[in-house]
């Protein structure tokens, strides 16, 4: 991008730069029109829905908005969402680090199959993420009779909701770490090893600082998805307000009961979460790119040295 612009304005040759620019870009009116079309699309599809949420939340005044968050059922749904997220996100983070470590640091049989399986929850319908656990642990599922005999409730209760959320957010951390760790290579880790560092010492002192922005990126995406998941959780939750409703399920309940202002109040809280996620994500992408490029430079260095020698 930078060299592209520099070429357009080489010092002291304005006319050439101008004609070169004209030859490799569109006329001004076309550029303006394209920007206008995209802007209109963004406002219509991405901007207006957000405006509607916040307008709907404040439609009955700020007092009503504040009162909504004093309602027991709504507060309970916030608590449920936080509980589910606090279990599934750390679990998937630990998994993501382990998976990225094993996949990028070693070569072994079945590595590609492992990668494909990690991706699976990304491309199936979230409803399937709930369905599979009902088939396993539901009343008529494979484990159903045994669970009932031992009085363990998974489906229509918290464990099922945690499992379904873990399923749909499964790949996020692993997927954001694998390309980064691949690009960075493991020379520093190996150097630490020769200097006598142990496995966890290497992980804590060398690897984690190297990947921290990639990890942060994966965790916030995982978190946003976990807090907002609807399809998978709606299948495994009993959908009892004040008991097993998470915030998205509570939105559905309130909306169905025609309590629009309350539904949008809960929705506005989740929209704020989405906006914060987008801001943090953009920041992490920017930092991550620098770590990523540093990693790639480190990969290239030996060949550059070889060429100059």
């Amino acid at each position: 991008m930078a060299s592209f612009i520099d070429f357009r304005n080489p010092p002291g040759s304005d006319r050439r730069a101008d004609s070169a620019f004209r030859a490799t870009s569109e006329p001004l009116w076309v550029r303006r029109m394209l920007i206008g079309i995209v802007l209109a699309f963004f406002i219509l599809f991405l901007g207006l829905p957000l405006v509607v949420v916040f307008q709907g939340a404040l439609a009955k005044g700020t007092e009503h908005f504040v009162a909504a968050f004093r309602d027991y059922d709504i507060l309970h749904s916030v608590l449920m969402t936080l509980t589910v997220t606090l279990i599934s996100v750390p679990a998937n983070t630990l998994f993501g680090i382990a998976a990225a470590w094993s996949i990028t640091r070693y070569r072994f049989f079945g590595r590609q199959a492992l990668l494909a399986l990690i991706d699976l929850p990304l491309w199936v319908s979230p409803v399937i993420g709930g369905l599979v656990y009902v088939l396993l642990y539901g009343r008529r599922g494979y484990m159903g009779p045994w669970l009932q005999a031992h009085d363990i409730k998974i489906i229509f209760a918290l464990p099922g909701m945690v499992l379904a959320t873990t399923f749909v957010t499964f790949p996020f951390v692993a997927r954001s770490l694998i390309p980064l760790m691949q690009a960075q290579g493991c020379e520093e880790e190996e150097a630490a090893l020769t200097l006598g560092a142990g496995g966890f010492q290497i992980l804590r002192r060398i690897t984690l600082p190297k990947i921290k922005w990639g990890l942060f990126y994966g965790v916030i995406l995982c978190n946003a998805r976990a807090m907002g998941e609807f399809g998978a959780v709606s299948v495994v939750s009993a959908k009892i307000s004040g008991k097993t409703n998470t915030m998205p399920l509570e939105i559905e309940r309130l909306y169905g009961d025609l309590l629009f202002a309350d539904a949008f109040a809960v929705a506005s809280a989740l929209s704020l979460l989405a906006l914060v996620t987008l801001i943090l994500k953009t920041l992490a992408e920017w930092k991550n790119r620098r770590q990523f490029e540093a990693g790639q430079r480190a990969l290239l260095e030996p060949t550059i040295e070889g060429a100059t020698n």
Partner: protein, 275 residues
């Protein structure tokens, strides 16, 4: 042998953890899905997946998703192009906003879109006098599917546009090609695989989408019901084998979509290296 290959410690621990967690969360449940589908028998499976109401949902899920993916192909490509090539105020903001459909919970998107397009509401009230209804019609499903799939095309195409070197465009211009000819014969061909991959991924997302659609569609049988909803309905009737049969069918369809998407992407990557 393994000692030679694995210099860094932690192979057994990290791989063991990965495989255990993967088995518990993904592998075992998906095997249960296949098992339940098989336990119903072939006839039951066929009866379930060819039930007229279910077949009607395929038209909505697989048909309307395709239209949504093509719309996203057009607008996603334009967005990727202006992000990569033009400098204008607010570009970074729009770029960051592109991922909103990823970040916004689907239930929130669902009620917001419904509120926008219901009659007597924001956009709906201007369309109503024209005789255009969007909420609770297939058009509403299309809107939700377009919303949810939008980021994929931009994310797939933008890096490839950024990587294109301007040399070839300058060469084409030097050789007397008009801007339109340059775009058609020089710029577009290497972008095509990435564009198709983006469209396919956006299609896959729309096919599986549930949360944002069920609000705006109104779930009218034979008209706006989507296939994932059929799974939910069967589960509510405790018809586990029926739900499994439809779920398995969807899983297989998604697998085909993702394999095509990956093939297109690796085709596009080959293009990038040779370019």
């Amino acid at each position: 042998m393994s000692k030679k290959r694995h210099i860094l410690p932690g192979f057994h621990l990290s791989l063991g953890w990965t495989v255990t967690w993967l088995s518990l969360i993904v592998l075992l449940p998906v095997i249960a899905l296949a098992g339940k589908t098989a336990s119903g028998g072939w006839e039951h499976f066929w009866e379930t997946v060819t039930d007229p109401e279910v077949v009607a949902t395929y038209r909505v899920t697989f048909g309307i998703s395709l239209i949504a993916a093509i719309i996203n192909g057009v607008f996603g490509f334009l967005a990727a192009w202006i992000f990569a090539r033009y400098e204008f105020p607010g570009r970074r903001l729009l770029e960051a906003a592109t991922d909103l459909p990823f970040a916004l919970p689907t239930a929130v998107a669902g009620i917001a879109l419904t509120a926008l397009y219901s009659p007597n509401e924001w956009i709906g009230k201007y369309l109503e006098p024209l005789g255009i209804k969007i909420a609770f019609t297939p058009a509403g499903v299309l809107i939700a599917m377009t919303f949810i799939g939008f980021p994929f095309v931009v994310r797939a195409v933008q890096p490839v546009i950024t990587e294109l070197s301007s040399d070839v465009e300058e060469a084409a211009a030097c050789l007397g090609a008009s801007r339109w000819q340059t775009l058609r014969h020089v710029v577009l061909p290497p972008l095509l695989p990435a564009l198709l991959a983006g469209i396919i991924m956006s299609y896959g997302r729309a096919v599986g989408e549930y949360g944002s659609i069920v609000f705006i569609s109104g779930n009218i049988p034979f008209r706006t019901e989507i296939t994932p909803l059929m799974i939910v309905t069967k589960l509510e009737q405790y018809d586990y084998t029926g739900a499994a049969a439809i779920g398995f069918t969807m899983l297989a369809a998604s697998l085909v979509i993702v394999v095509i998407g990956n093939k297109l992407q690796s085709w596009g990557n080959r293009f990038r290296k040779s370019a």
